[in-house]
């Protein structure tokens, strides 16, 4: 197979944007795009709410910056945030020029909506299918570039690294079961998040942290992994997301007594029905809302739906016409999956794992510690989100940093001549062939990935949920490590080569296990409460800048337990302040 | 290694939807017969004998049955056609598209007007 200049792993929003940028940087450049599913199946497709950028005349970069940094509880890299807010608008305009069907105002200008944690309306949206429209627009636009060679349904299993420099990837062609060593001067990881490490989540089945684990196994740090965002409004049972936009449009949350309980948790005073206000009540940030659910649950004020504790989202006052225009997908989802008509009924909801703030550590230019290896999108930690991501920042992140990664990688490829170690690649290939053969050798039913996966997601929920304790985390860490041991005996029931999805899910579980260890270890070591990471242990329930205004970095150790170090945070532009919402937020701002 | 089932000749018997489609397409058969009959009528105008023979033919019960069928078929065809029309030629007035039911109703009222006109012209009033 030929050698590529830029090889992108992942066909979601980040991967496609990177591939297009690389193609535009060098119209004759050789670019490969590998994805384990057809690009338009990537989980970006599920994003509903919107993408943020400073748009209105009464808004400013400084305001978007402040919201993002405070939202991330001062753990964001401020230089990165600064770059991001300044590039955001142009990237959304670029999407518009590629045909993205953004929702409009009557005069034809782009419409912006409110979003949790954002002080001003600055979220661009395409009805309630923003991610879907963005992904399809990007995919379709990528078809214009004949120098992007797609490898659809190629499952990347490993990176080819030679002496701290990338050489390419090792990929399993799903339709044949054949392994290919594909050479490339640069590789961009854009493999998405790891929500499936948890039992109850809003993510698709493919969101299993593959890219994070691959880079991690080659010595790149996973940074800030303890910060896992719960979305306050998932449907019970499936975890299917009910977008935050439903609250932005005026939906309210009530407990089993019909009481708007958020006012009891520092988000009040209650805003009048139909008059949502940014950063108050239902438009507080996600971590606060999810935590409030947990508190209500402890107080026995939650309702029940098919065995799940739930609170309720009330959209009835918005009226049928408005709901069908602004939130048609939500109406459809509620009808199909919980048999509820939001026009006349309350939607039962509960928090669900949604987003991994942490990921493959990169610098502000998306480069990792391996030369020629870049990472972007949800799999990466460029430092934008800190301890908690604000909704609608991540879709824009895919564009801003996807473009940057594509340009940087192509430029690097054109100015460097990495040494390609063919023998080493061939050796890695043989090792993997051996490994896959062993896994699929016999139909013997030993340990299966199904059992191990169930135990993994259960222990993650038990010990590493919305609120965490020392003992719970210790137990989960021990459990995850035990599961990693058991995985050594795992067997795949399906012995065939073509479309062996049994094998794929087994490999995904292995990625999940490594990522899970990093998440639990970082959660255990961060003995404070910040953003999405909340500890109940004594002395750890508040933010502690003295000791923990630092990023965690977890490093893989091949035969031993993972290790953790701390890294300074860039706070050069804004000194850490109090993170408050509702009336409290107003006061602290006035001060 | 792969397989691809061939579409069987009887594919259209498989479900109701396809049968309804085939029925719509089949409406053309009695209509063809009607048109041929009318053409023959026009041709028969050249001689009195031929015209009388044609009248006899038109009065045969089975011919009447087929022509009645043709009438029903044309109604059925109109029904399906009118239903499809708003989707092929959507009409927008400002922000809103004209609802399909309105367009279908308009088409039917047009049809009824034409029928009434014919009855008035040739039937000597309603």
């Amino acid at each position: 197979m030929q050698q590529f200049e830029v090889l992108v792993v992942g066909g979601g929003g980040a991967g496609l944007r990177a591939a297009i940028a690389a193609a535009e940087t060098a119209p004759e450049g050789r670019i490969a795009l590998l994805s384990k599913v057809y690009p338009m199946r990537s989980h970006t497709v599920a994003a509903e709410g919107g993408a943020a950028a400073v748009t209105r005349a009464d808004d400013s970069y400084a305001a978007h910056f402040a919201d993002t940094v405070a939202g991330g509880d001062w753990l964001a890299e401020q230089g990165v945030v600064d770059y991001f807010v300044k590039q955001a608008y142009q990237e959304l305009v670029q999407m518009e020029h590629w045909g993205c069907p953004w929702s409009r105002q009557a005069n034809g200008d782009v419409q912006v909506r409110r979003f949790g944690g954002m002080k001003t309306e600055r979220t661009w949206f395409a009805a309630d299918k923003t991610g879907f429209h963005m992904l399809h627009t990007l995919f379709q636009t990528s078809l214009k570039h004949s120098n992007i060679q797609r490898f659809d349904e190629f499952f990347v299993v490993d990176l080819l690294v030679n002496d701290g420099e990338i050489n390419g990837v090792l990929a399993l062609e799903i339709s044949t079961g054949e392994l290919h060593a594909i050479q490339a001067k640069t590789v961009i990881m854009a493999t998405g998040g790891a929500g499936r490490v948890f039992r109850f989540n809003t993510n698709g089945g493919i969101v299993t942290g593959d890219g994070m684990a691959m880079a991690y196994r080659h010595g790149v740090a996973l940074r800030d992994m303890e910060f896992v965002q719960y979305h306050p409004t998932g449907l019970p049972g499936s975890g299917i997301l009910i977008t935050e936009a439903s609250r932005g449009e005026g939906g309210v949350l009530v407990n089993k007594d019909g009481y708007r309980y958020l006012q009891d948790y520092g988000l009040g005073p209650e805003t009048p029905l139909g008059k949502p206000e940014n950063k108050y009540m239902e438009l507080g940030p996600r971590d606060k809302l999810s935590q409030a659910f947990w508190q209500e649950q402890q107080r026995g004020r939650t309702g029940n739906y098919n065995g799940s504790d739930v609170v309720y989202l009330d959209l009835r006052h918005l009226g049928k016409d408005y709901l069908y225009e602004r939130l048609p997908f939500i109406c459809d989802l509620a009808k199909s999956y919980v048999n509820i008509d939001p026009v006349t009924q309350l939607i039962p909801i509960r928090p669900a794992v949604h987003y991994t703030m942490g990921g493959i550590e990169t610098n502000a230019q998306t480069a990792t510690s391996i030369r020629g290896l870049y990472a972007v999108g949800e799999c990466a930690s460029v430092g934008l989100h800190g301890a908690n991501r604000l909704g609608s920042n991540s879709l824009t992140e895919l564009l801003v940093f996807g473009r940057l990664a594509g340009e940087e990688a192509m430029r690097h490829a054109r100015t460097s001549a990495p040494e390609m170690d063919q023998t080493k690649s061939a050796q890695t290939l043989r090792q993997w062939q051996q490994k896959l053969q062993t896994l699929t050798a016999s139909k013997a039913s030993g340990v299966t990935w199904v059992q191990l996966k169930r135990e993994l997601v259960q222990t993650m929920e038990d010990g590493c949920g919305i609120y965490r304790t020392e003992s719970g985390l210790q137990a989960s860490l021990a459990k995850v490590r035990q599961l990693k041991q058991q995985y050594q005996q795992v067997q795949v029931g399906d012995t065939s080569r073509a479309y062996n999805t049994d094998l794929l899910q087994c490999l995904e579980l292995e990625f999940c296990l490594d990522v899970a260890e990093a998440i639990v270890l970082a959660s255990l070591e961060r003995r404070e409460s910040r953003g999405a990471h909340q500890r109940l242990d004594e002395g750890m329930t508040a933010r502690n800048d003295q000791d923990f205004l630092r990023h965690s970095q977890v490093f893989f150790q091949s035969q031993a337990d993972a290790t953790l170090t701390w890294q300074a945070v860039d706070t050069s532009l804004s000194t850490p302040g109090e993170r408050a919402y509702g009336a409290q937020g107003q006061q602290s701002e006035a001060r | 290694m792969a397989y691809k089932p061939n579409l069987q000749r009887t594919w259209w018997l498989q479900h109701r939807f396809f049968r309804a489609y085939m029925l719509r397409e089949a409406t053309v058969l009695p209509l063809v017969f009607l048109l041929c009959s009318l053409l023959a009528g026009v041709y028969s105008l050249t001689s009195a004998d031929a015209f009388i023979a044609w009248q006899g033919f038109m009065a045969k019960p089975w011919v009447i049955v087929i022509h009645t069928l043709a009438l029903l078929a044309s109604f059925y065809h109109a029904l399906t056609f009118f239903q499809l029309f708003p989707r092929v030629m959507p009409i927008r007035l400002g922000d809103k598209s004209v609802p399909a039911v309105v367009m279908i109703a308009a088409q039917w009222s047009g049809t009824l007007t034409v029928i009434a006109l014919f009855l008035w012209l040739f039937g000597g009033g309603l």
Partner: protein, 240 residues
């Protein structure tokens, strides 16, 4: 509650021919067809292969024939089938294993219609203006999730795999209707051919099975009007 579910299996590495296999699956009010398949894979037979991801009817992976009708597995529920439930791979595509079909056959058609905005933006740093009415003109056709159900519903595609097909034509039409687009002249040649819009006999089943209300049949037949216009124009130009 339990249900007998039959699956049309195809394991080319073991058997030359497809065969039917029956499973007994527990279900409740909320069990989707995809949920049942996942139960089978995890509990009964891990070799059963099928595509899925989002489980919320938006990624377009999980198209199967359920009792002979193309459906999204994650948006079709076991409760809808009081009698038997038979799952087969999507019709009219080449089957490569179990419920896995060669989706490339659809993607090729998609790529052929140039489904992207063709335009020179007049102002690189500003969005175009597009009124809600202009957006509404094409919006429905932009909702296609590329699931391929309409291809499995289209007998003309079954008879002639070269037919560009409902989904791809809907997408071409979506861009043709977009007030920002100037690429219609480039797309029409593909639609004007026999394998373009003119293969369609307006069976209309494609729109019935479409899970997203795209109404591809409408797109194809509006496309016929456009095609007739564009061919007339060409005739006059050619004659002059």
């Amino acid at each position: 509650m339990h249900k007998e579910i039959q699956i049309k299996r195809y394991l080319p590495e073991e058997h030359a021919e497809p065969f039917w296999q029956t499973f007994r699956v527990p279900y409740d009010e909320t069990t989707s067809v995809l949920g049942a398949l996942n139960y089978i894979k995890e509990e009964l037979d891990s070799t059963v292969s099928f595509r899925w991801s989002c489980r919320m009817a938006i990624c377009g992976s999980c198209g199967y024939m359920v009792n002979g009708i193309p459906k999204l597995g994650c948006k079709d529920f076991v409760r809808n089938y009081p009698a038997a439930l038979r799952i087969e791979p999507l019709a009219h595509f080449t089957v490569e294993r179990d419920l896995m079909v060669a989706m490339d056959e659809f993607l090729q058609h998609l790529e052929a219609v140039k489904p992207y905005l063709i335009a020179e933006p007049s102002e690189p740093h500003k969005p175009h203006r597009q009124t809600p009415a202009q957006l509404a003109k094409y919006k429905q056709f932009a909702n296609c999730i590329n699931c391929g159900l309409c291809y499995a519903a289209c007998p003309q595609f079954g008879l002639n795999p070269e037919f560009v097909g409902p989904g791809a034509i809907a997408l071409a039409h979506r861009y043709n209707l977009d007030s920002r687009d100037q690429g219609k002249a480039k797309r029409m040649p593909v639609l004007n051919t026999h394998d373009g819009v003119w293969s369609c006999t307006f069976v209309g089943f494609c729109s019935d099975v479409c899970p997203k209300g795209v109404d591809p049949a409408a797109a194809v037949n509006q496309g016929k009007v456009e095609s007739a216009k564009s061919m007339l124009i060409q005739m006059f130009r050619g004659g002059a």
